[in-house]
């Protein structure tokens, strides 16, 4: 492999896959989460649901390395501000993290100097109302579910809620997270300290 190919494959440090085609595809996928998601495969359904529940638990327990291992190399962690997502090419999000920026986000939390997370938020989230359906192949699953998240920090308990949209991808027989979209019901409102992982 030449230098550029090496860089392209190292998504932890270089970002080539968030290109025009990626954005176009993402906007199309938004419409899929709006459709009736149905699946006639209890095994896949169970595996995928379990993955989402596990991801939530790992975040609530600050198990960030394991959390990152659930994501594909070309993943997206997205918290739009505009309800419904808007167009991320011309609008800002709370987070539009490719693999590199997601690792930056986790790295910052672990520097020991992220004062907005010292002390760290205690969180616990509940997911439900799961709906799942296959994408263009049986290696892609689109899932959505509702969430409520309680957060405690410096004596104050806060409540966040909305729905998660997931695009899951089967990589070497393992289901992984390719896209996580966090749709907060108050995404466009003022937030005091949303620096914990949603």
């Amino acid at each position: 492999m030449n230098h550029q190919q090496v860089n392209q494959s190292n998504t932890s440090l270089y970002s080539y896959y968030i290109n025009d085609a990626y954005y176009s595809e993402l906007l199309k996928e938004l419409a899929i989460w709006d459709t009736e998601l149905e699946m006639d495969n209890p095994t896949t359904e169970k595996q995928c649901t379990k993955l989402i529940i596990k991801e939530c638990r790992l975040l609530d327990e600050y198990r960030f390395d394991e959390f990152l291992s659930l994501y594909t190399d070309k993943s997206l962690y997205w918290i739009p501000i505009t309800p419904g997502g808007g167009d991320p090419r011309t609008e800002v999000s709370h987070a539009f993290d490719d693999r590199r920026r997601l690792e930056d986000r986790i790295y910052r939390l672990r520097t020991g100097y992220a004062y907005s997370q010292l002390p760290m938020s205690r969180t616990r989230r509940l997911v439900g109302n799961f709906e799942l359906g296959y994408g263009e192949s049986q290696d892609i699953v689109f899932a959505r579910c509702n969430f409520t998240l309680a957060e405690l920090r410096v004596g104050e308990l806060r409540q966040y809620s909305g729905w998660y949209g997931y695009k899951l991808q089967k990589v070497e027989e393992q289901w992984k997270i390719a896209v996580k979209m966090v749709n907060l019901i108050n995404s466009d409102q003022g937030h005091e300290n949303m620096t914990f992982m949603l």
């Binding site: 860089n7 440090l13 270089y14 970002s15 080539y16 896959y17 968030i18 290109n19 025009d20 990626y22 954005y23 501000i81 505009t82 808007g86 991320p88 090419r89 011309t90 609008e91 800002v92 999000s93 709370h94 987070a95 539009f96 993290d97 490719d98 590199r100 920026r101 690792e103 930056d104 986000r105 790295y107 910052r108 939390l109 520097t111 020991g112 100097y113 992220a114 004062y115 907005s116 466009d188 409102q189 003022g190 937030h191 005091e192 300290n193 949303m194 620096t195």
Partner: protein, 439 residues
């Protein structure tokens, strides 16, 4: 009555200016309304005739409209009948506003149209007092400001020394004709007085400490042989470095990071922490534009200017940040994202990813430190907040012919400067305000 000389001294201010609720209410009348020009909106947010957006002048709810003749106005969002707000939407397009409570009607220029079943009023309604109250409005290159001071200086005079810097910021962002403030915004709530935001706006001292986690992300890259990025230059002897702060007069302050970016096109782009899609769009730009690509790419990253117009407008990076005081210990800041009309898609796309970086990885640590500052200031026995850094180093301060004072980037000169203006305004008696009638 307050003893202003006691509250604001040469080297320190009293905690009461951050904690006294009555003083806050006074500020909301004097500072935010009667004595300054307050930033309200950008013209590109209401581009078409009859467009409007709602907002606040201090704590007064207002509607900023482009009326049927295309004139930009700001109206009190308050029915002249019984006080109800007329418009509860954030944005929209409407020729008139009808009060949801009793159906009184107003044109979007503020003039009273009528009330249902008017017979019961006789001719009582034929009075200009039933028109919506107007805020005096002026604009500078698309920036809309309002004041309740009918006889005060023009906006042009008020902006004074800041105008040239606004122009430079605009130039970085494509110029006034191309700058657009119509995507969306980050909104942050914080449990602190609004002046914590202002104090921080030209503070080159805090970066190394408050933003240690952001700068710490560099370690992840250094292990892979990738050099330090972003504001790392603040950690390298900033007292003697090329960056500087300025007090511009009228409460306006400035911190310039541009001198830390030496070299030609690409010097700002190359110093920027990486954004999603950085490499692929950089290559795409070079393919399309050759060497000129870097002139564009520099505009995809922040302006490296921190320019602050008293009392509520901050130009930070490429965002327009607006301070919205809510209570003595509650503030919202809104970071309006900006795009450049007619620029390559790659540039606007990268601008979005750049504008997500600091609000996520930098600002939250500041906000936490300000809120914890407010908590610290709750102690009555510990009275003083100090802004004495650099005070006695007068040989490092330089004043030019226009009255602009320049100091090293870590000097607390900007805070001393704006607090003097704050004291001047707060200590003068309330000036009578005459409301403009449009009939």
């Amino acid at each position: 009555m307050y003893n202003w000389e006691h509250l604001v001294q040469e080297d320190r201010v009293h905690r009461a200016v951050y904690t006294d609720p009555q003083l806050f209410e006074e500020e909301m009348v004097q500072i935010y309304g009667r004595s300054t020009w307050v930033y309200l909106a950008h013209e590109s947010e209401i581009p078409k005739v009859n467009d409007y957006k709602t907002g606040y002048l201090g704590k007064r709810p207002i509607i900023i409209t482009r009326d049927q003749k295309g004139k930009v106005r700001a109206l009190f969002n308050r029915c002249t009948h019984r006080g109800s707000t007329l418009c509860r939407m954030e944005k929209g397009n409407s020729k008139q506003f009808a009060c949801p409570y009793h159906g009184w009607n107003f044109k979007n220029d503020g003039s009273f149209i009528g009330a249902p079943w008017p017979k019961a009023y006789g001719d009582q309604l034929h009075s200009p007092e039933f028109n919506l109250m107007q805020v005096r409005v002026e604009t500078y290159k698309g920036l809309i400001f309002g004041t309740l001071n009918e006889n005060g200086p023009s906006l042009d005079e008020y902006l004074g020394n800041a105008k040239e810097l606004i122009d430079q910021w605009m130039y970085h962002n494509g110029g006034p004709e191309r700058l657009r403030v119509n995507s969306n915004a980050h909104r942050k709530l914080m449990s602190c007085n609004w002046k914590f935001v202002y104090d921080n706006a030209a503070d080159g001292y805090h970066v190394t400490f408050s933003h240690r986690s952001l700068l710490g992300i560099n370690e992840r890259y250094k292990e892979e042989g990738i050099e330090d990025k972003d504001m790392i230059y603040f950690t390298q002897k900033p007292d003697d470095g090329p960056m500087y702060v300025q007090y511009l007069g009228n409460g306006h302050i400035f911190l310039d990071q541009r001198p830390a970016h030496r070299g030609g096109d690409g010097s700002m782009w190359n110093q920027q922490r990486p954004q999603p899609g950085r490499e692929v769009f950089e290559e795409q730009m070079i393919d399309k534009y050759g060497e000129k690509a870097y002139r564009y790419l520099d505009q995809a990253v922040g302006s490296q200017m921190n320019l602050t117009i008293f009392p509520n407008l901050l130009f930070v990076g490429n965002q327009i940040q607006v301070i919205e005081p809510i209570a003595v210990d509650k503030t919202q800041i809104t970071w309006y994202a900006t795009t450049i009309d007619g620029y390559p898609d790659e540039i606007n796309n990268l601008r979005m990813r750049t504008q997500e970086d600091f609000p996520a990885f930098g600002e939250p640590d500041d906000v936490t430190n300000w809120s914890e500052g407010q908590r610290g200031l709750s102690i009555p026995e510990a009275e003083w907040v100090f802004f004495n850094r650099g005070l006695t180093l007068t040989e490092t301060h330089h004043e030019d012919a226009n009255g602009v004072i320049t100091a090293p980037v870590t000097d607390e000169l900007p805070m001393r400067g704006y607090f003097n203006e704050w004291k001047r305004i707060m200590s003068q008696a309330s000036t009578a305000t005459n409301y403009q009638s449009i009939k």
